[in-house]
């Protein structure tokens, strides 16, 4: 999903950065407010970021003979929403761009947009929709994690296609790039979905306070003696 350093023409690099910056700034203020109002949420934010750190570093081989990595943004999307997720992704992407030469400074805006904003946003839409439909933890978490991952790659394919149309056709390029990313991502998105189901099931049993108002937990799921935390 990372577009390599220098591989986006200047105008596109600027365009995606302009789209990303306001969301990241908004997320930054949201985190500050959250920490000021409820310092106990620090652990929850750190945890969501930790999953992005671990999962985005794991490269797995895929059926097309290349390899790819999960994004890990599903947990953060459910726990804290899109804006805060974009901040956490920015931290990871800067780490990778500066230390690993994976992604880049000039493509940072585009990479934040795909992994940290567009992916989580689609995941969040699914999460909200499934919450409204009163679906349970398992399908909701799976769909959110799967879509947060998969949409990031759809957007990356679109970003590359817009910058590099094949003989003037964005669509042809999109299909080419999408073909590369999509096939490698499906197994990874499934892995991510399964992992987050287990994690949220664990949270629901040990720290239901962190999931307050999320995932339609039945009261019986939150019988653990946990002190009431006002949001």
């Amino acid at each position: 999903m990372h577009i390599m350093e220098g591989f986006l023409p200047v105008e596109w690099a600027v365009f995606w950065s302009i789209l990303s910056v306001p969301v990241v700034v908004w997320g930054f203020f949201k985190i500050r407010k959250l920490f000021a109002e409820s310092p106990e949420m620090k652990m929850s934010v750190a945890l969501a970021g930790a999953f992005i750190f671990v999962l985005s570093s794991l490269k797995l081989p895929s059926v097309t003979g290349s390899s790819s990595h999960p994004t890990g943004t599903g947990a953060s999307t459910i726990l804290h929403g899109v804006a805060i997720t974009s901040v956490l992704c920015t931290i990871v992407l800067v780490f990778q761009a500066l230390l690993l030469a994976h992604g880049g400074i000039t493509t940072l805006g585009a990479n934040i947009f795909s992994m940290g904003i567009a992916g989580p946003f689609v995941g969040w839409l699914a999460y909200r929709g499934m919450m409204r439909a009163k679906l349970g933890l398992v399908p909701t978490v799976f769909a959110t994690a799967f879509l947060a991952n998969f949409s990031a790659y759809i957007v990356t394919a679109l970003q590359l296609a817009l910058a590099f149309p094949t003989a003037g056709s964005v669509m042809t390029s999109f299909i080419t790039f999408f073909g590369i990313f999509a096939v490698t991502q499906i197994p990874l998105a499934v892995v991510e979905g399964v992992l987050f189901i287990m994690f949220f099931d664990y949270l629901a049993r040990t720290r239901p306070d962190l999931l307050k108002g999320k995932l339609n937990l039945r009261p019986k799921d939150s019988n653990a003696p946990v002190k009431a935390v006002e949001a």
């Binding site: 999903m1 577009i3 390599m4 350093e5 220098g6 591989f7 200047v10 652990m43 945890l47 970021g49 930790a50 999953f51 992005i52 750190f53 671990v54 985005s56 570093s57 794991l58 490269k59 797995l60 081989p61 895929s62 059926v63 097309t64 003979g65 290349s66 390899s67 790819s68 990595h69 990871v92 990778q96 500066l98 230390l99 690993l100 030469a101 994976h102 880049g104 400074i105 000039t106 990356t156 590359l160 590099f164 390029s173 080419t176 590369i180 990313f181 490698t184 197994p187 499934v190 892995v191 399964v194 992992l195 189901i197 287990m198 099931d201 664990y202 049993r205 040990t206 720290r207 003696p225």
Partner: protein, 104 residues
């Protein structure tokens, strides 16, 4: 019959393992290049004249890159491990207190 959470975790991790192993079996010669690299090649196909206009100021050698990827994973794993361990400890402490308050 309800399966215990532990039973479900075994199922979950088995599914993850199976998918990862299936990927290795389906393409044993797969390189860990990343589909990012493949996208890069595709750009060269579409627009052979395109020159990356900016280079990473510093690019680690292969071994160091693996090390730094492992470091990134380790940072995250430490935080998750800390959280799970902390909750486990709290649960044990709670149980102990309840036993102390309620001697039978």
């Amino acid at each position: 019959m309800r399966m215990s959470p532990k039973g479900w975790y075994v199922v979950g991790f088995s599914v993850i393992m199976a998918i990862c192993m299936a990927a290795f079996i389906a393409s044993p010669s797969a390189e860990f290049g990343g589909s990012d690299g493949q996208g890069e090649e595709e750009i060269a196909n579409i627009d052979p004249g395109y020159e990356p206009w900016f280079e990473s100021p510093w690019s680690p050698p292969g071994e160091t890159e693996s090390l730094l990827f492992a470091l990134q994973a380790a940072i995250g794993a430490v935080i998750i491990g800390y959280f799970i361990g902390n909750e486990r400890g709290k649960k044990a402490a709670r149980k102990k207190m309840e036993e102390a308050n309620d001697p039978r």
